[in-house]
Amino acid sequence: MSNNETITLSHGSGGKAMRNLIDDVFVEGFDNPELSLLEDQARFDLAKLAARGDRLALTTDSYVVDPLFFAGGDIGKLAVSGTVNDLAVSGALPLYLTCGMIIEEGLAVDELRKVVRSMKTTADAAGVQIVTGDTKVVHRGAADKLFINTAGVGVIPAGLDVRSDRAQPGDVVICNGYIGDHGAAIVDARGELAIENTIETDCAPLNQLIAVMLDVCPDIHCMRDATRGGVATVLNEFARASACAIRIDESALPIREEVRGMCEILGLDPMYLANEGKVIAVVPASAAETVLAAMRALPEGQDARVIASVEADPAGRVTMQTLFGGERIVDMLVGEQLPRIC
């Protein structure tokens, strides 16, 4: 298929045009033996899987980001990273991904190829394979350019027990780096608020980072990746599930100057901005230094630090020790964060 072409309804109708699209764009782009078989399903040897762990981890996500391409990434990179990360935060070794695409008619083949290429690059970096997929094409207006749905499967090694409800008083909360980058990059990419910045998304697969963390500390209590709703949302989830209090140290929060600037102009709180490459881990205090050292050896973890501590009271609440020495509550987000002018 030539890059000048656009996707039409016939590319989704099951006939030759669709076969062409699949071969030319997806099979060639994702390039792995299982997918190339083009069966209706991917098949895996159970015994081989069971040799690597004692639980299967399964996750699903849909990606509808607008615009498709933004500073430092695109919807494809997002899809693969997001799914890999959802698996990795359970302690699982991510293995296989599905890729379902819903394409709005009129999308340029060129753009689709770029997305697929990006997914392949990200998948290779993460060590996973995209083994099965589906393609649908819908009328103009029925989807916004491209929606991607993924499912991911991984295996959790025996002995790991990473859950939201395991935080204990005395634990510390670690974040691997700068927060709010993705949210800020999207505001710029959308162009609605006519604000220019040079911030890039932090979108990245974190499974290798998480693997080294679990290697030095198999007893990590909780882990989540902070996506929509920001770091504040994950911390609230941990506090509630674990019936503990989490106390954030505002002076420890890593926030880029530009992200700060953007938040100040628009009246946004970086704690609630989306991230796509941030893991929040609750670890026993005694393991903190070792975990940080291991993280800082990798690029995705070079700015890792402790951002909060876990206490007993007030149970279920997240509070922040402000730069000012005061204390405020950091609650769950209600609806979308809207820029304010007051």
Binding site: E196, E257, G261, I265, I341
Partner: protein
């Protein structure tokens, strides 16, 4: 309706329409400078000015000297307080 943030004018883009680019910690945005220009201070002279930015308008220049004075007054609080304490203690000592 009061969210205003300090930023620095880095370029005048359209002197006729009084539009300039302001930089807030590396983030850039076009702003209207009608409120800060005057005969003594025309558009071209605004480059480098620190201004208060509100909904896409540079509303006022920030007076660096006044800013320093405000901060100095705060720093001096301690000294004034210590002096007052000293006076009070010495008064008590005399009694």
């Amino acid at each position: 309706m009061c969210l205003g943030i300090p930023g620095q004018i880095v370029a005048v883009d359209d002197p006729a329409r009084l539009m300039a680019t302001v930089d807030v910690s590396g983030v850039k945005r076009q702003v209207n400078i009608a409120c800060i220009v005057s005969d003594d201070h025309p558009a071209a002279a605004c480059v480098g000015d620190w201004v208060l930015v509100h909904v896409g308008f540079a509303m006022s220049r920030i007076d660096a000297e006044e800013a320093s004075k405000t901060l100095e007054a705060l720093a001096e609080l301690d000294e004034v307080q210590q002096e007052l304490d000293a006076i009070q203690h010495s008064a008590q000592a005399i009694r």
